[in-house]
């Protein structure tokens, strides 16, 4: 029963995205794959893990991998703040945490309002982008979570 990250593209369908900030960047992921958002930030580092993996957490008895989105997106590491959260998602039958700086709103976006990704948005590699949604004040970069998680370094 794996959730598919890729939203279906039919003309009038609307989708919901959970949005959050990493640095100054507003990002969104398909809300269907989001399990929960928590403040469980006590991450146990794993020796020999790839650089973008912060470590593992105890998520009610399960050991979940935590990914540092900053490293994946090529940003400098940041201190943990009051707003730092762990966004827990499902991917390929695994529970994975995304370490984000601040949680924002849930957006309901019609497919028509999603424009295809340019090769690079605010320094984010186009490979990771599903699409871009423009709002009055800001743009939301919609992430292709599977691509983000498949990142090698």
């Amino acid at each position: 029963m794996t959730m598919v990250a890729e939203p279906k593209r039919t003309s009038t369908e609307v989708q919901q995205f959970a949005t959050f900030y990493v640095g100054q960047l507003l990002l969104g992921v398909d809300i269907n794959i989001v399990q929960e958002i928590n403040r469980q930030l006590q991450v146990t580092p794993v020796p020999g893990a790839p650089a973008h993996v912060r470590g593992v957490i105890n998520l009610r008895g399960e050991v979940a991998t935590v990914i540092d989105l900053r490293t994946v997106l090529g940003m400098a590491p940041a201190e943990e703040t009051r707003d730092t959260r762990n966004l827990i998602i499902h991917s390929q039958a695994e529970t994975i945490g995304l370490y984000v700086d601040r949680i924002s709103d849930i957006l309901t976006i019609s497919d028509d309002d999603i424009s295809p990704a340019p090769s690079n948005v605010n320094g984010v590699d186009g490979r990771f982008i599903l699409g871009v949604h423009t709002m009055d004040s800001d743009i939301v970069v919609l992430l292709d979570v599977e691509k983000v998680l498949a990142q090698q370094n």
Partner: protein, 914 residues
């Protein structure tokens, strides 16, 4: 779309039906031309149900294939068709296809089954024709590649008939022509060996299907009931606990916590029980593997399977399949010789491969034994030297046994030529790595001309493992107990004498050996703890199966049973880790993979041995060595205990020691441990008042007893040059000089007898009926000290003993015919004829092959046990463990009595022993 749940049920059920079908087909083949109607009926019904359900669910291709298979089975059942290898071959392939279709049920309707259907209809319709088509085929041997055409044009019935006949021809062909036949199997699309060799074996075709769908498990109602009961008890205990807490009662808490503890353990055990599966489900695939492969190689091989009912955890059953397949294929390919070769050597043309599983010391052992040509140690050495794996000097010193173990060295291939089946140089080292990953070990023993045994040992379960929790920097890690050999604490003052450097590697000096050291904090790049307290260095000596080394950690925590949680896909390259676990406080501890660490740090087995040699040449004499624990009962009063008889050592606070009725006891693990204090029983200075003491626990008369050893000093291997006169008294064997101190060697069993004569009150010398002499023991032992000890022990029990100081002398005594021995008790290491040789000679002679043999050993030689069992040794006993040795002796003499009652002509046979 079909209901997913229904489809799931169908897959599970179909797999159950198909699980044993291969072996059933093979059984049918074996019995041919006879037909066991019951067996065929069984298969028929299985296929029939699959066919029926598939039709109902619209799985047209499964239905079609099932239907055709059923037709053939029906004809067999009605004796309209006589089974033979060709027919069984077709059915086997059809069943393989059926399995793979069910494995990927969603796409089963897209699978082309026409070739199978054609083959099956050819059998069903033209079975008369089949025989005539098949008959001339053997004559047309060179045209065999034509079957390639058959594969390309599967619908052509005629070609197909010839195609199915192919294996029969192979079987019939002589050895010389066999290699030329290999093109034929290549042409078959789903029969094993294509260019990618091992990857596409039928076993592995079947494996994914099992892995994909085996998501449910069958549990016996009994186990389920006990689970239910335990859950009930747990609820009850919880209620008690909640009540006690709400009433703020402290008094009952201990009882409740003990109850919860017990129920949890039982629950854990019961749940583990549900995960246990018979290893037979893995073994089931091997008759087919051996059949197909031996046919292809024109060999004649019998596969004997024993111990199918041995149960291991499901995870292990799943993971062990591939390594075992590799080992079995190896035995077929490299082990068993071609029939002509075998006959020339005077062996039966038919080779035998035995696959045997059994429990041994809390683990599962699987032996894969063939009666083939064996492995030539010299050839392996030469090969290893030529490939630069081994230096010529090391090769010259290496024992044959170790040389044979070179097959596990990475990059070494044993086959003279690379064949399709194995011998590509990626083999045994991968098998070894995979088995080590499962927490198991693999070893090899081989005798040229006689055969080869591969010995695999596996833990019973992987899910919950006893582990030691250690601190490295700010993090905690778990090290599985199974890989831990011992813990060593180096005090600051000893650091320079115990830790050293060899080239650029840090080493630990441990009882005359140098062990490589790994500082975990550096090798794992862990964040250092804020305050590092200087002081003692904690070292965990671990054994990866290939090498032994020390791990330096910052602190030791508890020993816990941990539940293994898998790590996510991002950590697949972390070879140093075996998983993670959640500790009592909610923190995560990563589980270290000892074998992975050894590989990463490039520690090799031979590294260790090199250093051993250095030490050996450094003057340790070739004498009987015994590992002893050295301690002081009071300052400057030195004592030694043989390590072999010690169960374990505990450190306890002196205020935990109670005195009950004038006896010292320790309340310990919910039971009372009787304590002995040396100076109460032998002349020794009284012990000092200390806060902590060590208690050496040993087993005597079936109970645990502790000896208070106030200050431990060392564990050493010392030569048994014992003065048995000067200090002899009950409880003391004699004295040795160690480090210029006169050290008294304690006999724990005698000491226990002095302290508690009532335990021995029921003991009587073995009862001997009148007119019969007591049993006569042939004792071969080169060390005078041990010979006297053992002789005295036996004689005190009433046995007669004929001591010899070498195996050869024992053999001569035996051959002289002067004596009629009832049992042989022998040492292993002896100068002129060792225990193995003596035993092998004995067992090879019909006159003495039933004479029981008990081997005396020290723990250090435990690795040789397998060799002993092969030589025919009936039992192994530790030299210093009197109780067990006597028990064993009783068993064998008693046993013998049953087999050969004393009425017979043998006047010396034992009388009644109770």
């Amino acid at each position: 779309m079909i209901d997913q749940e229904l489809l799931g049920d169908f897959v599970v059920e179909a797999n159950e039906h198909l699980a044993n079908i291969e072996n059933q087909f093979l059984a049918i083949e074996e019995m041919a031309p006879e037909v066991d109607v019951d067996l065929v009926n069984q298969v028929f019904r299985a296929i029939h149900s699959i066919k029926g359900a598939a039709g109902f669910m619209g799985l047209v291709k499964v239905n079609e294939l099932g239907h055709n298979l059923e037709n053939v089975l029906n004809m067999l059942r009605n004796r309209e068709l006589t089974p033979d290898s060709a027919i069984v071959d077709v059915m086997l392939r059809a069943a393989d296809r059926l399995k793979s279709m069910i494995g990927e049920i969603e796409s089963s309707n897209d699978v082309d089954v026409s070739s199978h259907v054609a083959e099956l209809t050819a059998i069903a319709e033209g079975h008369a024709g089949d025989a005539t088509e098949g008959a001339p085929a053997p004559i047309e041997l060179p045209e065999m590649p034509a079957t390639a055409k058959a594969a390309l044009a599967p619908a052509a019935e005629l070609d197909d008939a010839a195609f199915c006949a192919a294996p029969v021809i192979e079987e019939a062909t002589s050895v010389a022509t066999a290699p030329s036949l290999t093109p034929a199997p290549v042409a078959k699309p789903e029969v094993p060996i294509t260019s990618t060799a091992a990857k596409t074996s039928p076993a592995e075709v079947a494996a994914p299907a099992a892995a994909n769908t085996d998501q449910s498990i069958r549990v016996s109602v009994g186990v389920l009931d006990s689970l239910m009961n335990l859950a009930g008890e747990l609820v009850l205990s919880r209620n008690q606990l909640l009540q006690a807490i709400s009433r703020d009662e402290r008094s009952g808490l201990e009882a409740i916590s003990a109850r919860v503890d017990q129920v949890t353990s039982e629950l854990q055990e019961a749940i583990m029980q549900t995960r246990m599966q018979q290893i037979g489900s893995v073994f089931g695939r091997f008759p087919r593997v051996v059949r197909d492969l031996s046919t292809k190689l024109a060999k004649n091989i019998d596969l004997v399977i024993e111990g199918k009912e041995v149960e291991v955890d499901k995870t292990i059953v799943e993971a062990i399949g591939d390594p075992l397949t590799h080992l079995v294929r190896n035995s077929v390919d490299h082990g068993v010789e071609l029939p002509a070769e075998r006959v020339a050597k005077g062996k039966p043309a038919k080779g035998t491969i035995t696959l045997r599983a059994f429990y041994q010391a809390g683990k599962v052992r699987i032996d894969i034994t063939d009666d083939g040509g064996g492995i030539d140690p010299q050839r392996l050495k030469d090969k290893a030297v030529s490939q630069g794996i081994l230096s010529p000097e090391r090769a010259a010193q290496m024992s044959d046994r170790d040389a044979v173990r070179l097959i596990f060295a990475p990059g070494l291939s044993t086959a003279k030529e690379v064949t399709d089946i194995s011998g590509r140089g990626v083999g045994m080292d991968v098998v070894r790595t995979n088995i080590t990953k499962l927490g198991g070990t693999v070893d090899v023993d081989s005798t040229i001309g006689v055969g080869t045994s591969i010995i695999v040992t596996l833990p019973l379960t992987l899910a919950i493992i006893p582990s030691l929790i250690v601190q490295v920097g700010v993090e905690r890690f778990a090290i599985p107990q199974v890989s831990i050999v011992e813990l060593v604490r180096i005090r600051e003052g000893e650091r320079t004498s115990r830790l050293g450097r060899v080239k650029d590697a840090e080493v630990l000096r441990l009882r005359g050996q140098l062990l490589p050291l790994i500082r975990l904090q550096e090798s794992l790049r862990c964040q250092a703890a804020d305050k590092v307290e200087p002081g003692a260095t904690n070292i965990i000596v671990v054994d990866s199966g290939q090498t032994r080394f020390g791990i330096v950690v910052d602190a030791l925590h508890d020993s816990e049973e941990i539940v293994v949680k898998p790590l996510g896909r991002h950590f697949k390259d972390c070879s140093c880790l075996a998983g993670a676990t959640i500790l009592g406080d909610g923190h995560i501890a990563l589980i270290l993979d000892i074998a992975g660490i050894a590989v990463k740090q490039e520690l090799r087995g031979d590294h260790k041995e090199e250093e051993n040699e250095d030490v050996n040449t450094g003057g340790v004499a070739e004498e009987e060595l015994q590992t002893v624990l050295l301690f002081e009962n009071a300052p400057h009063d030195h004592f030694a205990l043989p390590m072999d008889v010690i169960a374990r050592i505990e450190r306890v606070r002196t205020d935990q020691l109670d005195s009950v009725g004038g006896r010292e006891v320790l309340q310990y693990r919910n039971s009372t441990l009787t304590l002995l204090r040396l100076n109460n029983f032998i002349t020794a200075k009284p012990t000092l008042e200390l806060d902590w003491v060590y208690v050496v626990v040993f087993n005597v008369r079936g109970r645990e007893v502790g000896l208070i050893a106030p200050t431990l000093q060392d564990i050493r291997e010392v030569a048994m040059e014992v003065d048995t006169a000067t200090f002899k008294q009950p409880g003391v064997i004699g004295s040795l000089v160690i480090d210029e101190h006169t050290t008294r060697l304690i006999d724990l069993f005698e000491l226990a007898e002095v302290a508690h004569p009532e335990w021995y009150a029921d003991d009587q010398p073995i009862a001997v009926e009148e007119d019969y002499l007591p049993p006569l023991i042939l004792l071969a032992e080169d060390s005078g000290f041990f010979r006297n000890q053992v002789q005295k022990l036996f004689e005190m029990q009433g046995y007669r003993v004929e001591p010899c100081e070498d195996g050869l002398i024992a053999w001569e005594k035996l051959v002289s015919g002067e004596y009629d021995f009832d049992v042989l008790v022998t040492d292993i290491e002896m100068p002129n004829m060792n225990g193995f040789e003596l035993c092998t000679r004995l067992k090879a002679n019909t006159r003495w092959k039933d004479l029981p043999v008990i081997a005396l050993t020290s723990l250090a030689a435990a690795a040789d046990m397998q060799r002993g069992i092969d030589a025919g040794i009936d039992d192994y006993q530790i030299k210093m463990d009197k109780d067990k040795l006597l028990n064993s002796l009783r068993n064998f003499v008693d046993h013998k009595k049953k087999k050969a009652p004393p009425k017979r002509s043998r006047a010396l046979t034992s009388g009644g022993v109770q």
